[in-house]
């Protein structure tokens, strides 16, 4: 039995967000909905924009004590600023044909749509924090690439590129990483969103090319309900969305051995990502987007 969702969560379910159509609106809705009730400290950072004073507590960095206030009031207060990490954010989105799978289950959308929402929300967050944001769409080659730039106008352009993305082609991981790595200048937070139907070792080889350049890696592994239970029809033939190859399978395999293999695959992928110094998040397309963003924000709080 599914747990009851709060009204806020219901507003952020993928199908509701899909109805908003405007990606900017989707991003704002998702982000603002996710920030409500959050502890503000999670958002504070090293920006030059003053936010508030707070009484000093043991453990606070003494560099942020406002001595002028101490001189006037004889009390120690810490100055706090809105977070401005001055970080580059690069969202890498897999737009291969396999990302078009999904959306047949109630409340879910296909993986590409969900990824589009998540990416838009992260780009919006980045713009709020004055980070530079960039976007890379890839499949068998780099479909679209916008290096990280500052400003809301840039983010708006990225929204348009996201909206134009279509699921097609077959992912060629090695060539994508090889092409991309030298084109990112400076350190960046690279968020890689894909369903990762790739051998984990091959993925690791690509990730390492990014890791050696000092980038922070966040791998978001996207799974649709159809990935867990592909036996939507009564037939025994399955077709690979990317290669078009068909194969006869035993329906009983979907219920047992396949799911075990999928879990093993997820586990191995996570291990390989962690082994490359990256961070791993699993996302399900039937879950509200704010849960995903929450986990992303937690990640950002730990990695300002």
């Amino acid at each position: 039995m599914k747990p009851q969702r709060s009204a806020r969560e219901r507003l952020l379910t993928p199908d509701v967000l899909a109805g908003l159509r405007n990606l900017d609106l989707v991003a704002r809705t998702a982000v603002e909905g996710s920030l409500i009730g959050l502890h503000r400290s999670a958002k504070f950072g090293f920006s030059q924009e003053f936010a508030e004073y707070r009484a000093y507590a043991p453990g606070d960095d003494p560099r942020y004590i406002d001595w002028n206030v101490f001189a006037r009031t004889d009390k120690t207060f810490v100055k706090r600023f809105y977070g401005d990490t001055n970080t580059q954010l690069l969202v890498m989105l897999d737009v291969s044909a396999s990302m078009g799978v999904g959306g047949n289950t109630a409340g879910a959308v296909d993986k590409l749509s969900y990824a589009r929402f998540a990416a838009a929300a992260m780009l919006h967050l980045a713009s709020r924090q004055h980070d530079r944001a960039g976007l890379l769409l890839f499949a068998d080659e780099i479909v679209d690439f916008q290096p990280p730039r500052p400003g809301m106008r840039n983010v708006s352009q990225l929204y348009h590129r996201l909206e134009a993305a279509e699921a097609r082609g077959q992912t060629q991981w090695a060539s994508v990483f090889e092409t991309l790595a030298p084109r990112i200048s400076g350190r960046a937070l690279v968020v890689l969103i894909s369903d990762f139907y790739v051998e984990p070792e091959d993925l690791a080889a690509g990730l390492k090319k990014l890791g050696v350049r000092g980038h922070d890696l966040l791998v978001m592994h996207l799974l649709a309900p159809e990935d867990w239970k592909p036996e939507a029809g009564s037939g025994r033939l399955v077709k690979d969305a990317e290669t078009g190859r068909t194969m006869a399978v035993d329906p009983a395999d979907f219920q047992g051995a396949y799911q075990t293999r999928l879990r093993d695959h997820i586990d191995q992928t996570r291990r390989q990502v962690l082994g490359c110094g990256g961070h791993y998040l699993q996302m399900d397309t039937d879950q509200p987007l704010n849960q995903t963003l929450q986990r992303y924000l937690n990640f950002r709080a730990r990695h300002p």
């Binding site: 369903d195 139907y197 159809e226 009564s234 037939g235 025994r236 006869a248 035993d250 395999d253 293999r261």
Partner: protein
């Protein structure tokens, strides 16, 4: 091969349903799209091929099953040929040729076909207004040929209703007792002759009946019909658009001539010119001259009579209360003039106790009366009508009903069965030489007709008073009163009848003259014949004994009475029964006659061969049953998977 119900073949379109369902199921089993085959393991392929094979076999079985059912409902019949029957051992044949008016275009073909069918011991008969045997059973070919030469058509009509039963009766009368006779009916199988109820085509068949059509397509025909009132209609059936000349003449004088444009298979209605009133009936003739293509010429002339007959006054005597009722009824009906004096030609006597002597004198001197005999005339009835004896005085024990009526009598032609008439009391009469027209449920006469001197009486064995009978209040009383008085006053003569129908002569003393003035009956025949059948269309003149002897100027309403005889309207429509209807009749005729070897030859192109129709429907149904069993077995049988096979093997 032919189909009895070919319309069912349209159901073959239903084959699209299983095909569509299978396609839909096949589409439902189209490959399921997955993100990648990376984590999937293929299963052995043979099972998929087996499934495909099973799918195709199932589809074929279902399509075949449906097709067989449709074909079975369409009732296919295989026209097969039997070996030539040994003529000597074959049953005798009765060949009956339809000689109704519609057969005129086909007479030569019918004669030829009948000649081919008359093999071995055969009889020849014609079916028109009545069945007529031209030649009884004989094996003499010369007599066959002579009988065939005598075949002519009439202007009468033929209805197929109960015809098979009548033919079987005729066959019984011709053959030795218990001998099976093969009846061959040669006809055009005109649609208008077919009855409304199919059962009447097969009921009463005791001999095999083989139907032999001489026509396959309906011929074009023009006709002129009188549509009642003052209008005639020029009609064409299966005809192209054409101009038709029309001429209306009265007593040989042309009143109107016109030319009408008639649409294909259409009609044009023409109003007759106004004709001045005359003392006598007038003969009208409407003639059309159609284009060259016209199958039936006899219906191009329509004979009409402009009747000038008037009703005779009626004397009403007897009970005053009943008199008022009867006078009112006369006014309400034919508007006859009622008098109280017995000077009129016809009278209604309502239990006239005080006028019995006067009524007897009236009848003996030639008067005609409708007499309601109650208690008042009971004692003097034997004296009044000597042909009737009163057996008992009165039967009032229980209510009686009218059991039998002679509806062929003009006085009872319209009253039907008189079912609503209850008789609470009646005189028990015994008819001596009088004719009983209706009887009560205990067998006692209810209505009698008898001669009294020169006169005639219709006698009802009860008074019209309500304590005797509810006849006066019954639905048919007015009709009975009108018809009885018309009959007695000789007003009953119709003016227009169909050729071949019978005409009841007034009191047997009549002469019929055809258009050429020739007598149709001699004096001896006219004395004995109560009815006469007029076969040929034309104007006829009817004379009764009184009319011949009396001066025309002595009676204002007397004079020549004419009768128009025309080709029956239904004969003019040469449309034919459908092949399917004919086939159904054939099958029913053979099955009802329990024919051991049937021959439903529709055309005896090979007179020494017999044809029979083999119904294929039972075989198709059997095959469909097998298909159903196979489909059930295949659809419900499980195809073992490798895992299951391994489990079974272990």
């Amino acid at each position: 091969m032919s189909f009895v119900a070919a319309g069912f073949l349209f159901a073959l379109f239903a084959l699209a349903i299983p095909w569509w369902l299978h396609r839909r199921q096949a589409q439902a089993s189209d490959p399921v799209l997955v993100g990648s085959l990376l984590l999937l393991q293929s299963s052995p392929a043979p099972e998929s091929r087996r499934k495909t094979l099973r799918y195709r076999v199932l589809l074929a079985l279902r399509l075949l099953l449906l097709a067989l059912l449709v074909l079975a409902f369409a009732q296919p019949v295989l026209n097969a040929v039997l070996s030539a029957p040994a003529i000597n051992s074959a049953p005798p044949r009765l060949v009956v040729v339809d000689v109704s008016a519609s057969m005129q275009p086909y007479l030569a073909q019918a004669r030829e076909l009948a000649g081919e069918l008359m093999q071995g011991r055969s009889a020849l008969a014609t079916a028109g207004a009545q069945l007529t045997v031209l030649e009884p059973l004989t094996a003499d070919p010369q007599r066959h040929a002579a009988a065939l030469g005598a075949l002519t058509t009439s202007a009468a009509s033929l209805s197929y209703e109960n015809l098979p039963a009548r033919l079987s009766t005729l066959a019984d009368s011709l053959a030795a007792s218990g001998e099976r006779v093969s009846i061959y009916f040669v006809s055009d199988f005109q649609l208008s002759a077919a009855p409304a109820r199919f059962n009447t085509l097969v009921d009463g068949i005791t001999h095999p009946l083989f139907l032999n059509p001489v026509a396959r397509t309906a011929l074009p025909n023009w006709q002129v019909q009188f549509d009642g009132a003052n209008e005639i209609a020029v009609r064409g059936t299966n005809t192209p658009s054409a101009d038709v000349a029309v001429e209306v003449s009265r007593e040989g004088e042309v009143l109107m001539a016109d030319r009408l444009s008639v649409a294909p298979s259409g009609q044009v209605v023409l109003t007759l010119p106004t004709i001045a009133t005359s003392r006598h009936d007038q003969r009208l003739t409407v003639t059309i001259v159609p284009p060259a293509i016209d199958a039936l010429a006899a219906d191009n002339v329509r004979y009409l009579v402009n009747s000038q007959q008037q009703y005779q006054p009626v004397a009403v005597i007897g009970s005053s209360a009943q008199q008022r009722y009867v006078r009112t009824a006369l006014q309400a009906g034919d508007s006859r003039q009622a008098t109280t004096a017995l000077t009129a030609q016809v009278a209604v006597a309502l239990d006239p106790a005080e006028a019995v002597g006067e009524l007897g004198e009236y009848l003996r001197s030639g008067g005609r009366a409708l007499l309601f005999a109650g208690a008042d005339v009971r004692n003097s009835l034997a004296e009044l009508v000597p042909d009737i004896l009163v057996v008992d005085s009165l039967d009032s024990q229980r209510t009686r009903r009218v059991a039998t009526t002679d509806n062929g009598h003009p006085a009872l032609a319209r009253v039907g069965a008189w079912e609503d008439v209850a008789v609470f009391a009646h005189l028990q009469l015994k008819a001596d030489s009088a004719q009983v027209l209706a009887r009560l449920d205990n067998g006692d006469p209810w209505l009698l007709e008898a001669s009294v001197g020169l006169g005639r009486v219709l006698l009802v064995s009860a008074s019209l008073a309500p304590r005797w009978t509810n006849l006066a209040a019954s639905a048919g009383f007015l009709l009975f009163l009108e018809d009885a008085l018309s009959y007695l006053s000789e007003d009953f003569t119709p003016t227009d009848i169909a050729a071949g129908s019978t005409l009841r002569l007034p009191f047997g003393n009549a002469q019929i003259l055809n258009g050429a003035g020739e007598r149709m009956l001699n004096l001896g025949q006219s004395q004995g014949a109560a009815v006469i059948s007029l076969q040929q269309p034309g104007h006829y003149e009817l004379r009764t004994a009184g009319m011949v002897t009396e001066s025309e100027s002595s009676r204002s309403t007397s004079g020549r009475r004419y009768l128009a005889v025309n080709v029956p309207q239904g004969e003019s429509d040469l449309s034919l029964m459908s092949d399917s209807a004919l086939q159904r009749w054939r099958e029913a005729s053979l099955s009802d006659a329990d024919a051991s070897v049937g021959s439903t030859e529709d055309r005896s192109d090979r007179p020494d061969a017999s044809f029979y129709d083999l119904p294929l429907a039972p075989w198709l149904l059997g095959l469909a049953l097998l298909m159903l069993l196979a489909e059930t077995a295949l659809a419900n049988g499980s195809v073992p998977t490798p895992a299951r096979s391994q489990a079974l093997n272990s």
